[in-house]
Amino acid sequence: MALLLEALDLVKVFPGVRAVDGISFAVAQGLCFGLLGPNGAGKTTTLEMLEGISRPSSGRVLYRGRPPDRAFREDIGIQFQSTALQDFQTVRETLELFASLYRRTLPLDALVDLCNLAEILERDTRKLSGGQRQRLLLAVALVNDPKLIFLDEPTTGLDPQSRRNFWGLIETVRRRGKTLVLTTHYMEEAQRLCDEVLIVDRGRIVARGQPQALVREHFPATVVRLPLDAWPRDASLPEGSEVREGYLEIFAEEAPPILAQLERAGANLNALEVETPNLEDLFLKLTGHALRS
């Protein structure tokens, strides 16, 4: 697969902080690439260097094997994490404004259909709900039919319903053969949308790979969780178990032997959970602190 975008040893230093501390990766054409990490991990800073919005302190970004030139702007679409649109404009006027800044654009109708904006087309952009606003911002990012799309925490602040809808939208965009780079601190989002993730913490890469493969690489197939107060006081903790946030956690390839072991020890199994380990568990294991803090 052809590499569309490469980051070579990116470093960004702000006074007193190395926000990004030597990050390298490559994004293949047509894939969805995720930067996963907690707030302040350097995800947005990394993304801004890729977008050409800020200049790296050192390191390079390559687009199709070359440093990005002016034409790069015509090829990319960006949805910023926090962005204001010009006041006193309707959704239609906003889309028309951005469309007229590019040489090549998607037809307005197609864009409106894709992002489900028909109902709010004549509404003032200040009167949109969170989900509507994100859909408009995505439409703005897609207005030039970009080859490469950057999404910075696209669903932060949305309610679960809007988030799910938005994921559906992003999957539709993906099916059109677009390459996506997104940041998120929701492991569920990364797991659902991304072909490949880069887990970053404090400006450094802590793991990379396909979400499922990454988890499988570090964990057995299941995790059994039991509230700590359901465990008999006098019994010693089972082998290989860990205590986290009031829960007893046991990782294993097979769940039934664990359940049998717990039952024998006299634990109350009513509140027991059996799950597949996820990126959240992985992040905790690799960094020693939780993704969402």
Binding site: R73, I76, I78, A84, Q86, F88, S100, L101, N144
Partner: protein, 339 residues
């Protein structure tokens, strides 16, 4: 490039005219000011008589006069005979004492103060033979409103230009509109050009409305060339817009921008001769006023409207304001940051 500039221009113009509060402020404020001041200065209270003392260009007097020893008279040194006489003609000074050669004086037959000043002059000369030669003029008084209107229009252009680009761009930067635009093929030059054009058209349209409204209600004088007046105001607006762009090039908070803009505009408001003539004030203040663009804008506009100047006569001011605009615009484009 041009269609991108147009797109930004249209969006900015929509934002401007849909913002009713801002629009109202831009149009009605200058009216309120003109009316307020016309009312306050309807009977201009002045304690002193103003007597111009005309000498040669070096400021040397060939003669002296006992009138100069009187107290409570404001003696205004003048060196340009034509300008001095037009002051008498417009009642801006009550009497002009000509000391370039054998003493003479000019007085306006229609001026009540001129009459009193002349009686004082006569009584200052005990020797009637030595009385300076009398010459008369008969122009009508220049009303304060005629004198102040070109300045008020200029002041309104200054405020509207400075805040209209300065404040708006800083707000765009703070809330991320600029960052969003930076991510498109739009260049900084295109963005700034659109802001300049948008504000220039707004400033000129608002000034036209104020001008026509004042014409309807106040019947002020306009003796010169409309083209000259337009060119003066366009050059002035461009100069202030560019100054606003320099202020807005990097600042990130509206509060700071507001402070800097106030710091720039208030000295101009006070020292540029908008409300009162700088003649006879502290030399330092007069020197300072010469470096302020509003001074040149107001002087040129006044020369067109009150003195009937044409394009040629105000060309130096137009060139000065236009040149300053170019320099400031270049500086602004160099300094400009999206984030």
């Amino acid at each position: 490039m041009w269609h991108r500039i147009q797109a930004i221009l249209r969006a900015r113009n929509r934002e401007f005219y849909r913002d009713r509060a801002g629009l109202g402020w831009n149009i009605f404020m200058p009216f309120l000011m003109v009316f307020g001041f016309a009312f306050i200065f309807a009977n201009e209270p002045e304690d002193l008589l103003k007597v111009g003392v005309l000498t040669d260009p070096g400021g040397r007097a060939a003669a002296t006069s006992p009138l100069l020893e009187l107290r409570h008279i404001d003696f205004l040194p003048l060196t340009n005979p034509d300008a001095a006489m037009s002051k008498v003609d417009r009642h801006q000074i009550d009497l002009l004492l000509d000391l370039r050669g054998a003493p003479g004086y000019w007085v306006n037959l229609h001026s009540a103060r001129g009459y009193l000043a002349e009686r004082l002059l006569e009584s200052a000369y005990q020797d009637r033979e030595a009385l300076p030669q009398r010459r008369t003029l008969s122009g009508q008084a220049l009303r304060y409103v005629d004198w102040v209107l070109p300045g008020v229009l200029g002041m309104n252009i200054m405020f509207s230009s400075l805040w209209g680009v300065g404040w708006v761009i800083v707000r765009y930067r703070k809330n991320g509109v600029l960052r969003r635009l930076q991510a498109t093929p739009l260049s900084a030059f295109e963005f700034l050009a659109a802001q300049v054009l948008s504000r220039l058209s707004v400033v000129l349209a608002a000034s036209l409305v104020v001008y026509l409204g004042a014409d309807l209600l106040l019947d002020f004088v306009m003796r010169g060339s409309y083209l000259a007046l337009l060119l003066v105001y366009v050059a002035g607006a461009l100069c202030f817009i560019s100054l606003g762009l320099v202020v807005a090039a990097r600042l990130r908070t509206e509060e700071l921008a507001d402070g800097v803009l106030n710091l720039l505009s208030w000295p101009m408001l006070l020292l540029s001769g908008v409300w009162f003539s700088m003649e006879g004030t502290n030399p330092l203040a007069r020197l300072l006023s010469q470096v302020l663009p509003l001074t040149h804008l107001v002087e040129a506009a006044r020369r067109v409207m009150v003195d009937g100047a044409g394009v040629i006569q105000v060309l130096p001011e137009i060139a000065l304001l236009g040149g300053s605009a170019l320099v400031l615009l270049t500086v602004a484009a160099r300094l400009f940051r999206w984030d």
